[in-house]
Symmetry: C2
Subunit: 448 residues, 2 copies
């Protein structure tokens, strides 16, 4: 039992300019890795003690990978000697005060010389509290573990009912949102239905299992090329995923999802992958924020400040080519983090800053075994097996940590040949009365 | 949201004698694997959907292994065609009624022809509710994950306080119980302190970290030979574990552990590995139970019944050689399960039953790198490197599942050469208001 009043951020004063980075995602870690500790003191604040490789999160949810193989402990990433003046603190930031140049946390304030906001996004329920309460989000590792348990538990319960209506609702999975997360989750679930579930649950008729993918726009994977969207739709339909385009979910009470227009779907499980919003921090002036993201100039400086930066998904950099900002994927965050490391060095040596220019390496999505789509530079669109190989290669390559690369690769090879998912344990959170967990105030996984 | 009334066990009637097994531990799975489905219908009931290899649980708690590599989904183990009349149900058994030959669960009753109780043990707090509330148990996978998060969180918090008393209490770990779990946890924690933690937490002075191992009897590993106990004590002391023998913990309020006699230890973390008791089921007559275990004859028949059996830790078979029953380890359970499969076949063919005779293969415990003890048959006692190799070999060999063997072995090899633990994520249960978890009534991880 912890006395909160006795905790403090406890950062030593090393007289170097202090860069405070909020968030250990793609932007934050790429910045921190490139910043040289001989020039700066680097403080990284995050509510989680690891950097997650979120493009593979859906595989944790669908029992394909263990959480530890898609995440790297932040301290491990920064434990070598070159990071001697790097300091990680597991703490939630509650606000920013540009006037005093401090960030506040529940255990005290911290002065910064340069502040970098790299908080990314959180789920967007568009104000629908009922959906928020009943849907399963898929943004963090505990979400993925919880969804994995839920899926498996639905199949267990489907073996334990003679009631056809309940059984159908246990076997119906509604995935809202046709972006990469939704598409990849639907595809993985469809592959499980084909290869694994009928063996594991001989008492269940899996021709009855229904997977809905619901998208508000007129195609799946709206940020990708129309060619890729069309291929993806075909792949999903080949896998018997019921894709509903131009369709909005109006309500979900835990039993019934109601579609705008009136159609109702009985489902015990609704996955919400329909949208994200910036994970904003209190204390920035309203004029720096637009559509839930922080307005930045080409140097990632927040509008109105020269010592506060925002990078990655939370940053809104309007350019001619990207009038709505850069796509919410890893690459812009990585590239902005790397450039900002250089620019901060330039800043303290009074050199001219270099403006950000996004180098679009393309985008990828996987739908199932041998089925993926890729939009590569120069308008090259791949599908099928080659896109699938590209997907596997790129994801292994960008995964942080040699051990993770090895583990994920072995898992995929094993799965390819055996058609088996390794990780089918139902591990629900351990909750008991007078819960010890509740006594921990830091890193408490609140809902978004 | 599930309507409980609409669930039922839903087991088909195949006219064969029905064997109902409660518990998928070592006893239950070995019995189920050997029972032939052409002779019997086999129904396995468990609150978890996996078989756990508990001798390695402490490695999950100390960030050495992922839970999925020490557990095998029960359905996967029984998915081949030979188990065509095998039925697994994820459900908690609430009682037994020998008069009607039924077991009851929250979703209905089930008739048995033969009932096998293989429920194992749960933590024993000897009636101390305060300790039960504040201590960390280590009996199930969620316990181990919770303890892993707790350990890492203590180090995180130790970097975030200037208060020396709080810091010391965050860096003090009290492990109660000098059996294998306690010894192995203490050893693993001491190895982490030596090789991993100083790198990860440069702000913490790990010479201040204290690991207590508290045992009520006059030696550690009381079930093993005095030679092994003495070696283990020395290994622990070499690793700077503070071992207190003949010592009882009287109270623990979450801050302070009070030892009988008055000594007080400030510690944020107290691990309870001090004892187990049988996981009894309601409905058996009082005279069939002694010291929390179920009295059985040499055929594992429960006292007073010829169609109810108990195997493994929950069974109390008094023999001349083992007047207090067999040791609470995997081997007696495995051997009893295997024999019972044969005896049930004999029973339905009116042959004479074979009495159980325990073949003691010896016992093992690991304390740290290159340090283990082994009591082998014929009074051979090994220590050091050879015992360590034996320990590794035996544990890999008995681990269920080819994939698990491979993953665990790779992890150990990786760790041996890099001195690195792979899995240092803090993943606390995801709790939110109106929690979805609480709506799930099956497989809710209650405290023991």
């Amino acid at each position: 039992m912890l006395d909160i009043d006795k905790l403090s951020l406890n950062i030593p004063d090393t007289k170097k300019p202090r860069v405070v980075i909020i968030g250990g995602g793609f932007g934050g870690i790429n910045l921190a890795q490139k910043l040289e500790c001989k020039d700066f003191q680097v403080v990284l604040l995050d509510r989680q003690n690891y950097h997650g490789f979120w493009p593979l999160l859906y595989q944790v949810a669908t029992a394909g990978l263990e959480p530890d193989s898609i995440a790297e402990p932040l301290r491990k990433m920064f434990s070598s000697d070159e990071f001697e003046d790097f300091h990680f603190r597991l703490v939630k930031v509650t606000g920013v005060n540009p006037a005093t140049k401090t960030v506040s946390t529940i255990i005290g304030e911290l002065h910064y010389d340069y502040l970098v906001i790299a908080t990314g996004t959180k789920s967007n329920y568009f104000g629908n509290e009922q959906v928020k309460k009943n849907a399963f989000p898929l943004k963090q590792i505990p979400h993925a573990l919880n969804l994995r348990s839920q899926l498996l538990q639905c199949f267990e319960q489907a073996t334990m009912t003679a009631d056809p209506v309940l059984r159908q609702s246990l076997l119906t999975f509604v995935i809202v949102g046709g972006g990469p997360t939704g598409v990849e989750t639907a595809g993985a679930l469809a592959e499980m239905r084909k290869h694994i579930l009928p063996n594991d649950y001989p008492g269940v008729d899996f021709t009855k299992m229904k997977i809905y993918l619901i998208e508000g726009m007129d195609r799946v994977l709206p940020p990708m090329s129309p060619e890729s969207s069309a291929k993806t739709l075909k792949y999903l339909q080949d896998l018997d995923v019921i894709v509903k385009l131009n369709t909005l979910v109006e309500s979900y009470d835990g039993y019934v999802a109601t579609i705008k227009g009136g159609e109702q779907i009985n489902a015990q499980t609704l996955v919400w992958a329909a949208g994200v919003q910036g994970a904003l921090i209190d204390g920035l002036p309203a004029e720096s924020v637009e559509r839930g993201r922080i307005l930045v100039n080409p140097f990632n400086q927040v509008l109105g400040f020269d010592d506060i930066f925002a990078i990655g998904d939370i940053a809104f950099m309007k350019t001619e080519k990207w009038p709505k900002g850069h796509p919410g994927v890893a690459q812009p965050a990585i590239q902005q983090g790397q450039l900002l490391a250089k620019n901060l060095k330039r800043l303290i040596t009074n050199q001219k800053l270099e403006p950000f220019e996004y180098f679009d390496k393309g985008s990828l999505a996987i739908i199932g075994r041998n089925r993926a789509v890729a939009d590569l530079p120069k308008n090259i669109h791949l599908g099928g097996f080659f896109a699938w190989l590209t997907w596997l290669f790129v994801h292994i390559m960008y995964l942080v940590g040699f051990r993770n690369k090895l583990v994920v690769l072995s898992n995929w090879i094993y799965k390819f040949f055996t058609y088996e998912n390794g990780t089918r344990l139902i591990i629900r959170p351990f909750v008991r009365k007078g819960d010890r967990v509740k006594r921990q105030f830091i890193n408490k996984y609140e809902t978004e």
